[in-house]
């Protein structure tokens, strides 16, 4: 579905992403992990068009999309959420999502956009009425809104950026279930960037590990956590927990 090859992004002389290649298959949930500054968000920004690649190719459903502006990439079927939720505070919850439903689908009829918004809102469990304001949402609610905005664009591939930061245990599990349901019910392929590796490892089919802009490991969660280089990167911090989570999965 998505084929990335030789992707490079430099900021000045600094290589944020160096020669990264990977594929994502239809219906997969791919986890993308790595320490802070390892290039996860840069890759997302390249995939979603917020940044232009320095070199390399990004092919989505057979079309080259590297360097296209964000709105065109969204119209081709890649939706994204932001690491820190970015709601439009002057609009209501419904308007936020309806906007994404309208523009994200290439400006169909208003009623089609509103329907997409209603579906997305009920999928994530937010009120579908027209009046509810952003102000009433907590951290979990804002994450849900972010997800609803992405879903309303009717993506084929969803880029979920650290969608669990700032949530408690229960909320995290709910959010992880949500991603599973999104794939199961809507057939959406997902790339999930996440700091909290325990939860991630339980959900993803495959995981890629980035460090200093390079792909250092890739494979099944159980295999990756045993990789010495991954352990080195996460040494002392998450390694134990990750292994436990991967074991629990089995």
């Amino acid at each position: 579905m998505l084929e990335v090859s030789g992707l490079i992004k430099r900021f000045g002389g600094f290589p944020a992403v160096s020669n990264v290649s990977f594929r994502v298959g239809q219906g997969e949930i791919l986890g993308l992990i790595g320490p802070n500054g390892s290039g996860k968000s840069t890759i997302f920004n390249l995939l979603s068009g917020t940044l232009t690649p320095t070199a390399g190719s990004i092919r989505f459903l057979g079309h080259e999309i590297g360097g296209l502006p964000p709105y065109r990439i969204i119209n081709q079927g890649i939706g994204r959420t932001f690491q820190i939720p970015r709601p439009f505070k002057r609009l209501t919850i419904f308007e936020n999502v309806a906007l994404a439903g309208y523009y994200g689908q290439g400006q169909p009829s208003r009623s089609k956009a509103f329907e997409a918004a209603e579906r997305a809102l009920s999928m994530v469990g937010l009120p579908t009425d027209r009046r509810s304001e952003i102000g009433g949402l907590g951290a979990a609610g804002l994450k849900k809104l972010e997800l609803a905005k992405a879903l309303a664009t009717q993506p084929k591939l969803l880029l979920a950026d650290e969608s669990l930061g700032g949530l408690d245990e229960t909320e995290m599990d709910q959010a992880a279930d949500m991603l599973r349901r999104i794939r199961a019910e809507l057939g959406i392929t997902i790339i999930w960037v996440e700091h909290i590796m325990g939860v991630l490892m339980r959900v993803v089919d495959r995981v890629m590990v980035l460090d200093h802009g390079e792909l250092i490991a890739e494979g099944l969660p159980t295999d990756v956590v045993g990789d010495p280089r991954v352990i080195e990167v996460y040494l002392g911090s998450d390694a134990g927990a990750v292994q436990a989570a991967a074991a629990e999965r089995q």
Binding site: P69, Y71, Y102, R110, A113, E115
Partner: protein, 339 residues
Amino acid sequence: MTRVVPARPMNRVLPARLMNRTLPCVVGAVLIALPFVYHAPYPLHLMIVVLIWSFAYTSWSVMGRFGLVSLGHGGFMGVGAYGTALLWNYFHLTPWLGVPASMAVAVVLALIVGYPCSRFRITGHYFALVTLALSAIVLQVATASRDITGGSLGYTPERVQGVAGVLAFQFSDKMTWYFVALGVWAVGLLIRWRVDHSMMAYALEAIAEDEDAAGAAGVNVTAEKLKVTALSAAMTAFAGAMYCQYQMFISPDTVSGISVSLQMVFAAVVGGIYVLPGPTVGAIITILLAEGLRIFFGTGALGWDNLVYGTLLVVFIIFLPQGLVGAAWNKLTGGRQAA
């Protein structure tokens, strides 16, 4: 799927039906009937001027209300006024064609300024400053091309009499002008209402808050900004043409330049940029203020109105940013800001 009417905050408040249906009908009826009952020349003249400027201020607010604060609109107004008059005098091009041509020129100018601003993310104060240059340039060109435009002495479209007046868009009768201006003003309000209630309004609100997030929602940020900018510029050029045809005299200072741009911002802010009648109320206030100063202080008060505008602008931005109509609306509807 219930109503497919978008819910801008203005529509959500309780007396919305009264305010949105009944009030415009009553006001419209009164305005149509008014000149038949009362048509002393001076008040009628004032009403026409107020209507034309109301249209101009409303045109500014079409984009201004989304945080696109342009100080270039004096330039668009000048292009509309001078373009129409010059095409008529030099090429005998009827304003029926000259006005659209001038509006097209204004749109081209708007795009020339707007596109780089959007590409290079020039927003907020910097956007205001860049557009300010446009006002200054049009003023300079109109003043400096003395042989063509008459420079600072002003310019007059050639007059024609009788039936040919229709072709020249010249009407000697104030009643006719009143209804022309009333129609133009009403269409201006309608356009702004349509924009405010379109999906584009959501997109522009989103862009005003966070361009990247708007882009991630699928909005083509540059296209949406340019669309509303072009619309606003075209409307403002039309206002300039109307002013020229009505007054039959234009000078660089009255239809272009920074002071005209500032006057637009002032009037719109005082009336309230988020509410439909805001710019109109702003026009009533600014014009009555200017006329009042002129009558009571004569030529001694020349330019005082700008001083008062400036002072009031600061006061309003600090203490009443939603403007008079906006504040009144909030009072009436229990504090829900119509933004």
